[in-house]
């Protein structure tokens, strides 16, 4: 497969100097950012390094005439996903340094390196011996190599219309799931908020008419807000 790609590249002419330069800079950004994500001790630094990688990938998209995807990459990934990461990091207050030299499982890192190297070399060798292209004509449309957001849109709204609609359902489900997951449990009231000591595994009886239950474990978060107090009074 790689040989096929190489021969294809050979027929498409020699790379120009600007293209090579842009590729080299973008590739350096991608690799440096990826290494930074893995080795950074502070999660905030990891998130910022992730932005570097995502920008590098967007540049590589532009270099391959996928302009729309490059724009979406910057808007969705760097604009939304990384901001969500940073929001959660700061919301949870885990933005403190972590000792990455501690290795709780002995031999985990050498094993991880070996596993990754084995996997990638196996993949590359498999690519050398097997033929993964079927030779069937494209159902989505022919990519002429020129910037073609029209073709992408047409393919998305005709051939891939059902998957496109299914992703909208997926996004709705994800939003509802996130709200349900991150919501405070309904039993948590102002009485719990007043008692900030985190007690684990306390089962409380919430049946109506039960005596005042002990404080349920709540995460160490901010003091009770006025809205919480109001809710508690309504509940009581």
């Amino acid at each position: 497969m790689t040989a096929t790609l190489l021969s294809l590249a050979a027929t498409s002419g020699h790379p120009t100097i600007p293209d090579v330069g842009v590729f080299a800079v973008a590739a350096a950004m991608v690799i440096a950012g990826a290494v930074g994500v893995v080795v950074a001790r502070n999660p905030v630094h990891s998130a910022l390094m992730l932005v570097l990688t995502l920008f590098g990938v967007a540049v590589l998209f532009v270099l391959q005439q996928a302009n729309f995807l490059a724009a979406v990459q910057v808007i969705v990934y760097a604009g939304a996903i990384v901001v969500l990461f940073l929001f959660v990091i700061m919301f949870l207050g885990v933005d403190r340094e972590e000792d990455v030299r501690a290795d709780p499982l002995r031999g985990q890192r050498p094993l991880a390196v070996a596993l990754v190297l084995f996997g990638t070399t196996g993949l590359l060798l498999l690519g050398q011996v097997s033929k993964w292209t079927t030779g069937q004509p494209s159902v989505a449309g022919t990519d002429s190599g020129a910037p073609n957001v029209n073709l992408l849109g047409k393919s998305l709204y005709t051939t891939y219309l059902f998957p496109f609609e299914a992703t909208s359902a997926l996004l709705i489900i994800a939003v509802v799931g996130a709200v349900v997951l991150a919501r405070r449990p309904p039993a948590a009231t102002a009485a719990d908020d007043a008692d900030e000591t985190p007690v684990d595994d306390v089962v409380i009886d919430r049946t109506p008419g039960a005596p005042e239950a002990p404080a349920e474990p709540v995460a160490p978060d901010g003091p009770a807000t006025a809205a919480d107090a109001d809710d508690a009074e309504v509940d009581a």
Binding site: T2, L5, L6, L8, H14, P15, T16, D19, F23, I31, V35, V37, V38, P43, S46, A47, L50, T53, V57, L60, F61, Q64, Q65, A66, L69, Q73, Y77, I81, L84, F85, L92, V94, E98, Q108, R109, L115, V116, G119, L124, S138, A140, G141, T142, D143, L151, S155, T159, Y160, P163, T167, L170, L171, I173, A174, G177, A178, L181, A182, A219, D221
Partner: protein, 101 residues
Amino acid sequence: MSVSPAWYLGLSTVLFAIGAFGVLVRRNVLIMFMCVELMLNAANLAFVTFARTLHDIGGQVLVFFVLVVAAAEVVVGLGIVVAIFRRRASANADDLHLMKG
């Protein structure tokens, strides 16, 4: 013309390997999520490269869907992290052994 696709695929492989290594060795759940994003980006880069090489726009359409699924995955995953943090006050994957027998 432009840079050979083999270079893009090589870069994609390296990016995927770094992401997989990060998932395997880091213990902070948030950083593990970021490493999963790195692996998804490596796959996206390979898809775009194949779309250009094989003259098939389907690769770019697939990247679009990967972006959507990645966004949904991050939203649900971070919701789970917040819910766990309420309970355990820790983002360390080693502390999550509640379901161990």
